[in-house]
C-alpha cells in the first residue's frame, strides 16, 4: 500500500461539539499537542441545535438554588439510576464552567442586576438555565469555537503557526481506533472531501461524538448522529452502559411531514406554554405520577400562580421531566384525543403577549413561520414526541472520564451514567462542559504518566482497516448489492416501530431478528455510484455499520430490562422495580456479537443519600440499600 498521510499528537479528540471542544481546550491549555477531528465543518456540530439553556445552580434568579438542589433534581429526573458521583461533580462544577464561558466572550441574557439570567425548565426546582433567547447551543458552540481560535492565535504569535498546538481536521471521518495490545495508539480516518486516508498517532483519544438518534425515523438529530463513538468504543473493547434508555423529547414538530421530528424547545413550556388536547383541555394534570405528586400542582389555578409565586405554589405539570410528558402525549394521541396530524397542541399564544414571545422564543417563531406557516404568537403549535437523546454510552470513571480501555476517554452524550434513565433539559450543555473539561484533563494526565511509552500499530493493521473501509467499493456484482439509503430507511423504521417510546418484549424480539437480517445484508452494502471524491453514498455505507451495532445494543438491553423507568417504558412490565435500580446493563462486543451483562451500581455515598427524605428514597431503593440512613448520623 502507498504511504498514507500521517500525523503525531498527544491527544486526539473525536467530535467538535461542546464536549469535544471543551476537552480540546483543556488538553491544549495543559500544553499537549491536540487534534480535533469532526465529520462536519467546524462550528456545525449538533450542540448548535440546543435551544433552552445550560443548567447551573448559580442562584442568580432564585438564591435558594445550590448544587445540592441541582443534584437532587438530576437524580430524580434519572429515577435514581444515575451514576451519583457524576451527578455530584456535574452539579458542583456547572456554575464555574458557565462563568468561564464569559471569559471566552459569551454573552448570555442578563438579570436586572447584570448577572446571567436563568429560566425555568422541566424537572428543575428553581430557574436554573443560563440562556440566550432560544439559541443557547449556538452561543455555546460559537464561544468554544472562538476560544479555540483564540488559543490558535497565541500559538501563531509564539510559533508562527496557528496549528502548532491545536488543529481542527474538519469534514473528517474516523473509521477505526488503533490499538497497541489493549492500549490506544491512535486513529484511522479519511477526508470526506477526497476519500484519502489519514493515520493519526496518539496515546490518548477522547470520544465526544454525541448520540445515536439517526437510527430512528422520527428524530431531532442530524445525519451525524450515527453512534460512531459508541461503535468505536465497542470495537476497541470498551463497555457501553444504559443503552436501553433513549429519550424521546415530548415536543417535536409533527406537520408538515418533511419537518416531522424537528425540535420545539422545552423553553416554550418553561416560559408558560401549556399542552392541550384536540378539544383544548389541559391534560397534563391527569399524568402526575405518584413519585412527583408532592411537587406538582393538581389544578390549573395553582399551576398558573406558580409563575409569580413559586414559593407558595407547586409547579405546573407541563414541567414534569421529559419522559413523563412524552408518555402523556403518546397516550392522549393513542386514545383519540390528538390533533388531525397525530400530535397535541402546544399553546403559548394565549399565555404570553406577542412581544414576550418574540423576545423569548424568536427562533421558534421563525421556525414555525418558515416551515409550517404557523404564527406562534396567535396560533397553537402541533407537537409530538421525537427521538432526541441517548442516556446510554461508554462506561467511564466519573472523575477522569477514562473508559476501561487504557488511553480511551469519553465525554458528553457518548458517555453513559450521568443522566441515569432520563436526562433533564438543560443538563446536557452543562454535562458537555463539566465532563469535556474533565476528559481533557484526564487525557492530559494519562499522557503525562505514559510519557515514556509510544504505542503504535503495524502497517498491516492500518492496511486492513483501510481495506475494510473501502469494502463497499468492491461489491460490484449488481444482483447482490444493497443500497445504503434504502437500508438506512429500513433500519430507522424498525427502531421507530419496535423499539420506540413504548416497548414490548415480543416486538423487541422481532426487532432483534430484523436487525440481524439487516446486518447480514449490510455485508453487501455497495457504493452505487461515484468514486471516493465527496461521496455521500459511501459515507453512509460506513456510518451504517455503526448505526447497526448501536441499534442492536439498544434493542437487546431494552429486552433484558423487565421494568419501566425513565426513557425505557414497557407495556409488558409497566412498573418501576427497586431491584432493577441497583442494576446496570452493559453491552460488550464478543466475537462480533453484542453481549449483554448485568452489573451492580456502586452504592450512593451516605451524605448524598441524606440529601433526600427517607420517604422519597423509599420509592426507589430497596430496604437493604437504605439501612445505612435508617439510623440518624
Amino acid at each position: 500500500m502507498a504511504e498514507i498521510e500521517s500525523h503525531d499528537y498527544d491527544v486526539i479528540v473525536i467530535g467538535a461539539g461542546g464536549a469535544g471542544l471543551r476537552a480540546a481546550i483543556e488538553a491544549r491549555s495543559r500544553g499537549l499537542r491536540t487534534a480535533v477531528l469532526c465529520k462536519s465543518l467546524f462550528g456545525k456540530a449538533h450542540t448548535v441545535m440546543a435551544e433552552g439553556g445550560i443548567a447551573a445552580a448559580m442562584g442568580n434568579v432564585n438564591s435558594g438554588d445550590n448544587w445540592q438542589v441541582h443534584f437532587r433534581d438530576t437524580m430524580r429526573g434519572g429515577k435514581f439510576l444515575n451514576n451519583w458521583r457524576m451527578a455530584e461533580l456535574h452539579a458542583t462544577e456547572a456554575p464555574q464552567r458557565v462563568w468561564e464561558l464569559e471569559t471566552y466572550g459569551a454573552l448570555f441574557d442578563r438579570t436586572t442586576d447584570g448577572r446571567i439570567s436563568q429560566r425555568n425548565f422541566g424537572g428543575h426546582e428553581y430557574p436554573r438555565l443560563a440562556h440566550v433567547g432560544d439559541r443557547t447551543g449556538l452561543e455555546l458552540i460559537r464561544t468554544l469555537q472562538q476560544q479555540v481560535v483564540s488559543l490558535q492565535q497565541s500559538d501563531h504569535a509564539e510559533h508562527g503557526d496557528y496549528e502548532a498546538g491545536l488543529r481542527v481536521f474538519a469534514e473528517f471521518t474516523v473509521t477505526d481506533l488503533l490499538l497497541d495490545g489493549d492500549r490506544i495508539a491512535g486513529t484511522l480516518g479519511y477526508w470526506r472531501e477526497n476519500g484519502r486516508f489519514v493515520r493519526l498517532r496518539a496515546p490518548a483519544v477522547v470520544l465526544a461524538t454525541g448520540g445515536i438518534g439517526k437510527s430512528f425515523k422520527v428524530t431531532s438529530n442530524s445525519w451525524e448522529y450515527t453512534g460512531d463513538g459508541h461503535a468505536l468504543a465497542l470495537r476497541a473493547g470498551a463497555r457501553l452502559i444504559n443503552m436501553e434508555f433513549v429519550q424521546f423529547h415530548p415536543t417535536g414538530m409533527v406537520w408538515p411531514p418533511s419537518v416531522k421530528g424537528i425540535l420545539v424547545t422545552e423553553s416554550v413550556r418553561g416560559d408558560g406554554g401549556v399542552l392541550r388536547d384536540a378539544s383544548g383541555r389541559r391534560f397534563m394534570f391527569d399524568y402526575i405520577p405518584e413519585v412527583f405528586k408532592e411537587s406538582y400542582a393538581d389544578s390549573p389555578e395553582e399551576a398558573d400562580r406558580w409563575y409569580s409565586d413559586p414559593d407558595d405554589n407547586r409547579r405546573p405539570p407541563e414541567l414534569l421531566p421529559r419522559d413523563e410528558v412524552a408518555r402523556a402525549i403518546n397516550n392522549e394521541v393513542k386514545e383519540g384525543r390528538g390533533t388531525p396530524h397525530g400530535g397535541v397542541y402546544l399553546d403559548v399564544a394565549s399565555r404570553l403577549s406577542t412581544e414576550e414571545i418574540m423576545r423569548r422564543l424568536p427562533s421558534m417563531h421563525h421556525q414555525f413561520k418558515e416551515l409550517a406557516d404557523v404564527d406562534i404568537t396567535s396560533e397553537r403549535m402541533e407537537v409530538g414526541p421525537t427521538c432526541h437523546y441517548v442516556m446510554g454510552g461508554v462506561e467511564v470513571d466519573p472523575d477522569t472520564a477514562a473508559s476501561s480501555v487504557p488511553g480511551l476517554f469519553a465525554a458528553g452524550e457518548v458517555a453513559g451514567g450521568m443522566h441515569g434513565s432520563n436526562r433533564l433539559g438543560g443538563n446536557s450543555l452543562s454535562d458537555l462542559l463539566v465532563f469535556g473539561r474533565r476528559a481533557g484533563a484526564g487525557a492530559a494526565e494519562y499522557v503525562a504518566a505514559a510519557r515514556h511509552a509510544s504505542p503504535d500499530v503495524s502497517e498491516e493493521v492500518v492496511t486492513e482497516a483501510v481495506n475494510s473501509a473501502l469494502a463497499p467499493f468492491e461489491v460490484t456484482d449488481a444482483r447482490g448489492q444493497e443500497n445504503p439509503y434504502s437500508l438506512q430507511a429500513e433500519l430507522q423504521q424498525v427502531m421507530n416501530r419496535l423499539v420506540g417510546i413504548i416497548r414490548d418484549g415480543g416486538e423487541m424480539c422481532a426487532a432483534l431478528e430484523q436487525l440481524a437480517e439487516i446486518k447480514q445484508r449490510a455485508a453487501r452494502l455497495a457504493v452505487p455510484e461515484g468514486n471516493r471524491h465527496f461521496n455521500p453514498g459511501w459515507h453512509l455505507a460506513l456510518d451504517l455499520r455503526n448505526m447497526l451495532a448501536v441499534s442492536e445494543c439498544v434493542a437487546a438491553a431494552a429486552l433484558r430490562r423487565t421494568e419501566s423507568r425513565g426513557g425505557h417504558t414497557r407495556d409488558d412490565h409497566p412498573g418501576m422495580n427497586p431491584k432493577w435500580r441497583g442494576t446496570l446493563l452493559g453491552c460488550e462486543l464478543r466475537d462480533g456479537s453484542i453481549e449483554i451483562t448485568e452489573h451492580e451500581q456502586p452504592p450512593m455515598r451516605e451524605d448524598l443519600l441524606r440529601l433526600f427524605s427517607l420517604e422519597e428514597l423509599g420509592k426507589y431503593f430497596t430496604e437493604e440499600e437504605l439501612a445505612v440512613v435508617r439510623t440518624p448520623s
Binding site: 448559580m58 471569559t103 466572550g105
Partner: protein, 252 residues
C-alpha cells in the same frame, strides 16, 4: 398533493461540470433540501450536498436557488409554481469541491485573523456584570449561523476573488463590530484598535453599503445598518476627526 418537481442541479467538480435536469417526487410542505435528499436516495447516490440540522440553525446547506443565495432547508417549495424548474447551484464566491459542496476555507482563514475577545483584567469568572441593553447589540450579531451567504453575495468578492486577500467580508467585519460593542472587551486597553483593524486588516473601506448581505441573511441580522455602518462611523470619528488629523500630520 404530491407532484413531480423539476429540478436542475449543478453537477461536477473543480475541473468541469454542468447543469443537469431531474424530475423528483415532491410532497406538501417540503423544502428544496428534501428534494435533494430524495434525488440522492433514488437517482444520484453520490450527489454531494452539505447539511446538518435541517432547521435553519447550523448554516450548512447554503446554495443558490434560482440564482439567489439561500439555505436549502428553509426554502419552501411553495415559493415556486409546481411546473417551474428549480435551479440549484453551489455558492459562486467559493471554489467548487463537488456538486453543491464548495471550499469555504476562506472564511476560516479570515476568522483567525480577527483578534479574539480580550477578557477584562481584574475580573474573576462569575464577577462579570453587564446590562441587557448593553449586550443586545452584540447579541444580534452572535445570532449568525455562519452560513456564509453574506460572503457569497457580497460583490466585493463574488466576482473578484483577487479582493479576498484584502477583504474579510461582511461576516467577519460584523465579528469585529460585535467585539467592538462587547461591554467588557479589553482589546483597546491592551493597545488594540478594532475600528482601525477593520479598515487596515479587513478591508472595511471596500464595503460600499449596498446591503446585499443584509438581504440574504437567513437570521435577518441587519448587518449593514447595525454592524458595518456604525463601524465606519466609529472609524470616521477616530480617523477623520479634523483635530486628530492635525495631530497625526504634525507627528509625522
Amino acid at each position: 398533493m404530491g407532484y413531480r418537481a423539476r429540478l436542475r442541479v449543478w453537477r461536477g467538480d473543480a475541473d468541469s461540470g454542468e447543469l443537469r435536469d431531474y424530475e423528483v417526487d415532491a410532497e406538501e410542505g417540503e423544502v428544496v433540501l428534501d428534494l435533494l435528499h430524495r434525488l440522492q436516495a433514488t437517482q444520484c447516490p453520490d450527489l454531494a450536498v452539505r447539511w446538518n440540522c435541517k432547521a435553519g440553525k447550523c448554516g450548512s446547506c447554503s446554495a443558490e436557488v434560482n440564482g439567489r443565495p439561500r439555505l436549502t432547508c428553509m426554502t419552501r417549495l411553495s415559493l415556486f409554481d409546481t411546473d417551474e424548474t428549480i435551479t440549484v447551484t453551489p455558492m459562486r464566491a467559493f471554489p467548487v469541491i463537488k456538486d453543491l459542496v464548495c471550499d469555504v476555507s476562506y472564511n476560516y482563514v479570515k476568522a483567525r485573523e480577527v483578534p479574539a475577545f480580550s477578557p477584562p483584567e481584574g475580573l474573576e469568572p462569575g464577577e462579570y456584570r453587564m446590562q441587557q441593553r448593553d449586550v443586545e447589540r452584540s447579541q444580534e450579531f452572535r445570532k449568525c449561523i455562519e452560513c456564509f451567504l453574506c460572503q457569497d453575495t457580497c460583490h466585493v468578492i463574488r466576482d473578484h476573488s483577487e479582493n479576498k486577500e484584502a477583504f474579510s467580508g461582511p461576516r467577519f467585519l460584523m465579528r469585529v463590530a460585535e467585539l467592538e460593542m462587547h461591554p467588557l472587551d479589553s482589546h483597546a486597553e491592551k493597545g488594540g484598535d478594532r475600528p482601525e483593524e477593520a479598515r487596515g486588516d479587513h478591508g472595511l473601506g471596500l464595503c460600499n453599503i449596498t446591503k446585499c448581505c443584509t438581504e440574504v441573511c437567513p437570521e435577518h441580522i441587519k448587518i449593514t445598518d447595525n454592524a458595518l455602518i456604525p463601524l465606519k462611523e466609529r472609524l470616521a470619528d477616530q480617523r477623520y476627526d479634523p483635530l486628530t488629523m492635525l495631530f497625526r500630520r504634525k507627528r509625522s
